[in-house]
Symmetry: C2
Subunit: 390 residues, 2 copies
């Protein structure tokens, strides 16, 4: 399951005491995950937040990934270790050193670190470092699910996916609500495979996959300081898959996890699939899709099951994409409520009772397209995010 | 008062039946306003939405303003006349023709038209055109307040401002919640003056004023199809003010109205004053201020009276402004909760009980600054905007 679906990996998830224990005293909350690549190979690739304010573990792990080798990943919930200054970076460094020490024969420079939780708080290292020892003692080839549980923050469920091909497997775990635009729930993803591929090939497959999956979910337009997606290859299957097959497998697992993230976004009651068609370029399609995805008025309307296509047009109008306003067409759940920039089919025909809502925006300017997934804006979202740290 | 504070103007506001009458049968709701410049001069300038999907009245009025002469403005609430195709444009044209006809001696090409309300619905011309006749019959030199009331949509109060200098006056009315980024409540503003100035001077003063007032309020990041700001000069005072004095007066009235718009934004419980200082350029300061203003997570935190400076840093990190992450400083209500990109003064010292919240973001990269006003994100905002058209 999860990061241990592929051969060559062990994982663990434990309660280290980084998160406060529940008030009823019923033991600790899982908050520390360890994933170890037992080889024979330890090639890896990573994609990180493009936010210029990066958490200490992101700065650290970007350096680690430059070497193309990762032997272990240590992940904690309960604290983002972002905006914590040089001391926060020292904490990340000490965590990697501790992992290398307890695993023996590993180098800290090959240990990636990921953190998620509140910004601006130091991690309780007196709990985290002993937790590393306990996590290492609990590593098993079936620990993937426990690891996935330990990285949850506001996630209501843990997220895993896996897929097997001819003799090789890709698996993974995720937490959070988006990548380029995650909620407070930073997105952390660890993918593993037993395919035998060098770091450069992993990097190519991972970047291609994230570009059309995690990069195209947008729960609330906010970009985290901590987003991290890692892909580790053990080579334990001994199989060298064709590049296309491998890329497709990674993309499928990423897509599965991305959809799970949107399906569990904070406070959301609708998953909105925005497909932009008829675009002059893919960039235009993505720009328009993202503008629609981030329009608060539209997100409220979808929450109210109101097929308010005027707000879709307003959002399109703020972009630089190629289009003529009086040629735009918009369908909501397959009813073309806007044709040629004006009133189309009867809006009363649109059935919006179900969780998934499909918006199709036709720019009538070309043949390119893109799909962006978003969520509605709800009172629950406001509640959850106004009460988070206080 | 309002648009009739300056000499040379008459105005009226009536219930034409464009909005549905209240369920209790207690007469109609004001929905049609007429402002007439009786001269001797009729110079005018205008600023319009930069949304590429423009309502018919915006397309019409942009053409009118190119001539630099406006003798009357007709404004309706109850329907935006946006995304209504060629027939919607004909409706706008017919409205201007009707105003020219009933006022006698006026040309339709000098009548500006503004509309606000739902997108995608034709206006009930059978009610609007007779309304124009009734409005013209009720024009008085004291009608400014009634006009301001007639342009309200979701506004809880009508908004007017005026200011008199040595023998000349600038007055105005506004409705809505923002300009570059208004809520469903499109921003409509009509300013009048009895100063004697040509259209080019009005244009200079109006653009300078809107750039630092209406353009810097951002209630929810959404841009309307209908935003319109007009400045009409009658010359009735016979005074030709100095350019600087006039520009300052227009700016002061615009600032007053802009603050009223933010103070009445849909569902808001906080007015957030975001001042970006230490910027390398004014453009940087505005970009950073706008990014902070539009961050849903931060807007929720402010609603929850949570001085969550980490979300301010996350928002700054998404911009292209010049800054170093570890030199950023953030104050909330004058408490520097973030210093050098990390924890600063005790967040418990921040008192957020009052409606106005002040965020100061110091980029430590220069000497430029800008102020952006925004609102918090609340369950009431979600409620109001998910139930609007259904």
């Amino acid at each position: 399951m999860s990061v241990t679906a592929a051969q060559g990996f062990t994982a663990a998830g434990i309660a280290a005491g980084i998160k406060a224990p529940p008030a009823n005293g019923s033991g600790g909350v899982p908050d520390l995950a360890l994933v170890v690549n037992n080889g024979p190979r330890r090639a890896a690739a990573g994609v990180f937040t493009s936010n210029r304010v990066k958490a200490a573990p992101v700065v650290w792990s970007e350096q680690v990934l430059k070497g193309g080798t990762v032997s272990a990943v240590i992940l904690n919930s309960g604290g983002a270790n972002a905006c914590t200054g040089p001391l926060g970076f020292q904490d990340t460094h000490a965590t990697a050193e501790k992992v290398a020490e307890v695993l023996e024969g590993h180098s800290a420079g090959e240990v990636a670190v990921a953190s998620t939780g509140l910004i601006g708080l130091r991690l309780p290292m007196d709990k985290l470092l002993p937790g590393v020892e306990r996590a290492a003692a609990e590593l098993t080839a079936h620990g993937g699910e426990k690891a996935a549980i330990a990285i949850k923050t506001t996630d209501s469920v843990h997220k895993t996916a896996q897929l097997s091909r001819d003799g090789w497997t890709v698996g993974g775990m995720a937490k959070g609500a988006g990548m380029l635009a995650p909620g407070l729930a930073t997105m952390l993803v660890v993918l593993t495979t037993d395919a035998d591929l060098p770091a450069a090939d992993l990097d190519t497959a991972l970047r291609a996959a994230t570009r059309t999956t995690f990069d195209r979910i947008d729960s609330d337009g906010c970009m985290s300081t901590n987003d991290t997606v890692l892909l580790l290859a053990s080579g334990a299957s001994g199989v060298v898959p064709a590049a296309d097959d491998f890329a497709e497998a990674v993309r499928t697992v990423c897509d599965d996890l991305a959809r799970q993230l949107i399906g569990d976004a904070e406070g959301a009651s609708k998953d909105i699939r925005i497909e932009v068609v008829g675009a002059a370029s893919e960039d235009d399609a993505v720009e328009v899709g993202r503008s629609i995805a981030r329009n608060n008025l539209l997100k409220c309307a979808i929450h109210g099951e109101d097929p308010n296509w005027g707000r879709v047009l307003s959002a399109i109008g703020t972009t630089s994409a190629v289009f003529e306003p009086d040629r735009l067409n918009v369908a909501i759940n397959d009813i073309w409520v806007c044709k040629n920039g004006s009133v189309g089919e009867d809006r009363e025909l649109v059935d919006m009772r179900y969780r998934e809502v499909r918006i199709t925006a036709d720019l009538a300017a070309g043949t390119e397209s893109a799909v962006i997934w978003a969520n509605d804006l709800t009172a629950d979202y406001v509640h959850e995010n106004s009460a988070y740290s206080s």
